[in-house]
Symmetry: C2
Subunit: 343 residues, 2 copies
DNA sequence: GTTAGCACTCTGTCCTCTTGAGTGCTAATA
DNA sequence: TATTAGCACTCAAGAGGACAGAGTGCTAAC
């Protein structure tokens, strides 16, 4: 079994490594405050910890560094729940201080501030709109061939799409069309609009509008708001500041992954409520082998709407980042709930 | 005076350096096709070219590399107008092939494709909306305290803003308000909306609407669409592939510049029509000392609406990039003119 | 005016040596 | 029996030297 002293040493090593990014040896560790045993004793304990798989060596006579398993144990058992500095609280609160009504702007600003606070890369998966329900749809004619559909959802999200009109469409019929759409589609989740248009609206349109054939397809396809939630980033280049990423090739492929978005989206979207830590290879992605990803979710009322994550090296300040995200996610949820729940 | 043979040599050196990123010496140059003189002769000519300031050495016994002045001469006088490969044409045309009606999407896609085609970073300054004229404004109530203003411009650009309503605002007055706004503001350039609201609309609102005081401020401030045009990027990380940016610190500060946007925006916004090349320090920015920026503009009809740029190392394939941008800007202008001019 | 030849220079690479920080093992100690 | 001191050993990183390769500038010959 693992002893208390071993845990003390493990914790000291990981804390030190997170700070200095350097392998740490028995002698320097023995000089640390709170460590009262000789370097020889520490060597023995380290050797045991290595056998358990919590530590690794970079070469035979180097100091030890934490292994993935070591970080995992540290995160699961050794993390002292650190309370946030008032400064940090204040800065996070400032995100929500301005009266901003657009969710996207809040999300964008959050990404920026979280990356500045942590010096890592922040990724925010914006609110899922496709679960939102249609509140109102407006159609405004633009030219002979095009009109704009403005879609407003129950959470206050607004989206506009250009729809193309059939060649000989009568402008007077726009209002009729809008009425039909509102009549039938209000309250329908955005993801189901397309279906509903084909199934219910098409019939009605055929009764009231000339030339409805191509119009139905055009409507159904443009109102199909199944576009995945947007990803927002902050501090994309913060990775470059970390000593473990001073290798151009590593950093290059990592940044490509970030820029591509697709890969990260897959990772972000499957996120259960609460705070989760994925360390190194737990991310199931070669490019993220040396990274850890800490995710948190935010909600409107009880409904979880988005995910926020911090991406850093495995040698990440877990404690601080977790506290930040906890605080942030609580505040964000509170704000969103207040703003949008009663629509 | 500079002789024809010197120009031939200068051109050969620059072409070679653009390809291989290695200083080039007299002997290897003498082996090149089209160069019929001995290495000694070339050495003499190179020495002259260096005296003129067109070439540099990295150290006393190294081969030569082009100086900024060398590139400048090359771009101004030696560039053979290269015609585009049909492949490239096809790919650029494909941007405009889909029936996309939203300008932003076209711009975004352009940035992506141009960066893929060149392997450099592309930057597109989106259309200036503030010169657009208001075509229609719609107001849709959202909650007790908020409503959405939808602003449509003569170029088909749509923007929505949340406006906050005074506490005891009567919902029935929304339509009245919208009518007043439309009546007074249609045809007004977006940049002047704010002014016009204070000067003309305020009076009218005071006559027809209770509680108009805070409403006017709220309207004026939210409808103030002086937000600068957006910047779109493609291939932000392409810089990392260039051998001259294999230095982390250099690349890090350059990417920060790109991520900040502000600096680049300043550079992009002041752009006269046509294609322009800025080499190294001509960019007036320490971080861009080793970069060249080639910009082109695009228009709707006669009105120039945006700028597109390619950012690469000074050792850039000027000829190819210029051809690409020329072709692109012509096509883009043609498409936009067709789509939006007759609104 | 052009070219051949030669002495010289600088970079990059390879090798060796040395130092310092670390380890593991063994024997002495509390 | 658990801890510590001591010692031999290992490895990385840095310094210094030797050397090959690619280049230059200059001078003299063509």
């Amino acid at each position: 079994m693992i002893t208390d002293r071993q845990l003390l040493i493990l914790q000291a090593i990981i804390d030190d490594f997170i700070r200095n990014a350097q392998p740490i040896g028995s002698r320097s560790l023995s000089k640390k405050e709170g460590i009262a045993f000789s370097s020889a004793t520490i060597r023995n304990e380290m050797s045991d910890l290595e056998e358990f798989g919590f530590l690794e060596k970079t070469h035979t006579s180097s100091g030890r560094i934490p292994s993935e398993k070591g970080y995992r144990y540290y995160v699961d058992h050794l993390l002292a729940p650190q309370s946030l500095k008032t400064d940090d609280r204040r800065i996070i609160r400032s995100i929500f201080a301005d009266r901003i009504y657009e969710l996207e702007k809040i999300v964008q600003k959050s990404a920026k501030i979280l990356s500045e606070l942590t010096n890592y890369t922040s990724i925010v998966l914006g609110p899922k709109v496709k679960d939102n329900k249609l509140k109102k749809i407006q159609i405004i004619s633009l030219s002979r061939e095009t009109a704009i559909a403005i879609i407003i959802t129950d959470t206050g999200h607004v989206e506009n799409k250009v729809i193309s009109l059939p060649p000989s469409f009568d402008m007077n019929e726009i209002e009729k069309m809008a009425n039909i759409l509102n009549d039938r589609l209000v309250g329908v989740p955005l993801a189901e609009l397309r279906d509903k248009i084909y199934k219910e609206v098409a019939v009605l349109l055929s009764q009231h509008i000339h030339n409805y054939g191509t119009l139905v397809t055009s409507l159904a396809e443009t109102l199909d708001i199944s576009n995945p939630p947007k990803l927002f980033f902050g501090g994309k280049t913060n990775m470059l500041k970390q000593p473990e990423f001073h290798d151009i090739d590593k950093v290059s492929s990592l940044l490509s992954l970030i820029e591509q978005e697709q890969g990260l989206y897959e990772i972000m979207k499957q996120n259960p409520a609460g705070i989760h830590v994925k360390i190194g290879r737990e991310n199931n992605n070669v490019l993220l082998e040396d990274c850890s990803l800490i995710t948190a979710t935010y909600s409107v009322g009880q409904q979880q709407v988005g995910t926020i994550a911090i991406l850093g090296p495995t040698r990440m300040e877990y404690s601080r980042v977790i506290s930040l995200l906890e605080f942030f996610s609580k505040d964000m949820t509170a704000l969103l709930t207040k703003l949008y729940q009663n629509y």
